[in-house]
Amino acid sequence: MKKEEIPQDDGALNKLTKEVVYAVDSSGKYSSELSTGWDVKTKALDLAWEDIEKRIEAARQKVLNNEASPILYFLELRLMDMGILAAYTGFWKWTIKSHLKPAAFKKLSEQKLQKYADAFNVSVEELKTMNVHDN
């Protein structure tokens, strides 16, 4: 890539910092330069987030339809998978799996609910209602 070809589009990172890229000058010599972003990448990241939003919304609907417990919603909202949630809560994956059922979730002790709430960085009340106020 030549210096003058370095993309200077608006990227998500641009609000905060620039990216270092290496490019060649007219004599073919490399040096490090800065880029504000590249729309090819911005669109890729946007698409990933659109997909995440869809998954979160689908999970919310499942919870509202009583097909899953709020844990499914928060798994998606916090971009976690079972392995990550198991590591944060200390529960086995199969235990979490059973807690994904609404009936099992309703029977959880306050202590266990608190563990999930901590892992998702919400209060127990927010965990139960899916009513989250992130800043």
Partner: protein, 303 residues
């Protein structure tokens, strides 16, 4: 001096990250640092912690003696990162270089200027959970040493030889240049196998892993090109400059492939022929890089 000891490619066929294929364009950042220090003969001290308290105390003691430390962290709770980049990625590295009241002073490679985190914020990222959990890991050079030109020259040769092994000597079709061609072949089947929406998401994931924050596929080929030019100062072998150009060509082709992928995931194009073009770009890249690494493997080093 960029010491590019870590050019690599692997697509892990059974691993899915963020609901897309797992593709690595380089080795983990911590490993790059480790190999660099090994190659330069700089002993590095590393420590992980079983408790947050002991991790904090150790860090505070280091800073109190004026020792800045490298720290492995997860980015999900990294408050100064833009939200769009905050995934559960646990192999980010930063330098903690001081403490003022409750705030730790941080030099983050992504940021242009120093930043800071509160004790709580730093603890949360140091003890992030999930794959490659950092467990509070910190590291720093055991002693201050001046690296001689001779050591630098040897490290360059060692690094290049390792890259040659990783890129053209691993059998099979998931790693190295064969892996790139293997992914190219798979991409051609994505439209039929996954459908337009999912195939588009997979391509977007490929581009993100490739180009994100300047350290992925195309960008890393340019870094490697720059590294070979800089190596010429230590090993005045003109082939290095010629091979550098081949890496520039590979980097350019990675970017062309990313533009093609974007055409598909933006919905501007998307026929089977467009996927075939995309797959063929990767197969071409594989050939270009194979040529480059074969040339590197034949370089006669003087020392």
């Amino acid at each position: 001096m960029v010491l590019a000891l870590a050019l690599f490619y692997v697509q892990l066929p059974f691993l899915v990250i963020n609901n897309g294929p797992a593709i690595a364009f380089r080795t983990m950042p911590g490993l790059i640092f480790k190999r660099t220090c090994d190659a330069l003969g700089i002993p590095v001290f590393r420590k992980k912690f079983s408790s947050k308290e002991s991790g904090k105390k150790y860090l505070d003691d280091c800073l109190a003696t004026g020792q800045p430390v490298g720290a492995q962290v997860g980015v999900y709770y990294l408050t100064y990162f833009p939200k769009e980049y905050r995934f559960h990625f646990n192999a980010h590295n930063m330098i903690v270089f001081g403490k003022e009241a409750d705030r730790y002073l941080i030099s983050d490679p992504v940021m242009e200027t120093p930043t800071s985190l509160s004790s709580y914020e730093l603890e949360r990222v140091r003890f992030a959970k999930g794959a490659f959990a950092p467990r509070g890991q910190i590291y720093y050079p055991k002693e201050k040493k001046i690296v001689t030109d001779e050591q630098m020259g040897k490290a360059i040769v060692k690094g290049i030889k390792r890259n040659v092994n990783h890129m053209i000597r691993i059998p099979g079709n998931i790693a190295g240049v064969n892996g790139i061609a293997g992914t190219g072949k798979k991409i051609k089947k994505w439209k039929a196998r996954l459908g337009d929406e999912k195939a588009g998401l997979y391509l977007a994931q490929l581009v993100r892993m490739q180009e994100e924050i300047g350290t992925g596929g195309g960008g890393f080929r340019y870094i490697y090109g720059a590294f070979l030019q800089e190596s010429h100062a230590f090993h005045p072998i003109d082939e290095l400059l010629d091979i550098s150009k081949i890496f520039t060509e590979a980097g350019d082709k990675w970017r062309t492939a990313a533009v093609q992928a974007a055409g598909i995931y933006k919905g501007r194009i998307g026929s089977q022929a467009d996927y075939d073009v995309m797959g063929d770009y990767l197969i071409e890249i594989s050939e270009i890089e194979k040529k480059a690494f074969q040339a590197l493997s034949k370089v006669k080093w003087n020392s």
